[in-house]
Symmetry: C2
Subunit: 176 residues, 2 copies
DNA sequence: GCCCTCATGTAATAAGTTACATGATTGA
DNA sequence: TCAATCATGTAACTTATTACATGAGGGC
């Protein structure tokens, strides 16, 4: 059996402590989402698969009449996670940006319209910066420092994009 | 019927002149690939779909006994392309980076191993910069300036990533 | 003769999103 | 009481990749 990156997201989140599928989704949404998203449609089946493989173990943990199943990393799961972390052979960043795609073809429209694409892209990155700053503001303390390190990378990344798109916007307006 | 971004890639490539599916794939691989990839498995079915919708028109154009079908943009196709280009409502950049994902969980491994992830990521971006510089070097002349504008963005982008990952690598090594 | 490029296409598979169904608890 | 949140799960769908099959032309 082989685990995809999304499986390791689950493993990684469980390394920080026992969690339910629901909690994993919450965590993903305010942390890895910006460079690796995951939906319920992936998380729940993945939990089942990982348990079958013995990498995690789940236990019913109802709160009142509300059903709840919390999972914990097994020793095998911890080992699988660490092995994956140490493998640097597949680290290709994948970018999908409809804004760059439209700009690529934007000779078909006026440079004012092209500038509007750059402006909209800039605004999106500004919004992401604001969202990440909010995440940083409300982040719980922890002895794990890497999440914060990656968060700073994300902030710098979207700030850079903001500025670069702003520059492109200006250049497109000038060449009118 | 609605067209996805990949359909517009086809439309956009055809706006530059008559092309076969094979040629579109070549073009994509040395231009939009860095922010929007497309495989034969998408391109050929998409060509059929777009022709059925009347946005492009194909004509058999065999070279000797070698079969060949060249497509051209119709007036309706040109209009559809321009409408899509002017719509700035869906410009969300999607990033998927296994390197950032691993770094996020890298508290589970030593900071030397974490630094190795950052180093590998940096090397990948360096390779991409080299690839893009090669593309720039061998680019044909054209009156369309936007492809070059986007290429410069891509170069700056991967250069920035190179430096930022290098910085992270250093910081991880220092905090040993 | 053989390999590479040109050229078209499909089938199987993988990956992921969206929408829905279900139901309990909590707080206003 | 009503909305929001907690909680689990699946089915349908979309999107895209990989691998394969097929075959002609050009250059060594």
């Amino acid at each position: 059996m082989d685990i995809g990156p999304t499986g390791y997201v689950v493993l990684g989140m469980l390394r920080l402590g026992e969690r339910t599928g629901y909690e994993i989704k919450q965590l993903v949404d305010r942390s890895t989402r910006f460079f690796w998203a995951a939906s319920y449609g992936q998380i729940y089946p993945e939990l089942k698969k990982l348990e079958d493989a013995g990498l995690i173990s789940g236990a019913a943990d109802p709160q009142g009449g509300r059903q709840r199943r919390a999972y914990a990393l097994t020793a095998a799961g911890e080992q699988a996670l660490e092995e994956w972390l140490r493998d640097t052979s597949e680290l290709g960043m994948e970018l999908r940006d409809p804004a760059l795609l439209k700009l690529f073809f934007a000779d078909a429209i006026g440079s004012e319209d092209a500038a509007a694409i750059a402006r909209a892209a800039r605004e999106r990155h500004e919004a992401t910066v604001a969202a990440l700053e909010e995440v940083r503001r409300t982040k719980p303390e922890s002895d794990n420092r890497m999440p914060a390190t990656v968060l700073e990378f994300g902030l710098d990344f979207h700030r850079w994009c903001t500025e670069r798109f702003a520059r492109m916007e200006q250049e497109l307006k000038e060449k009118d």
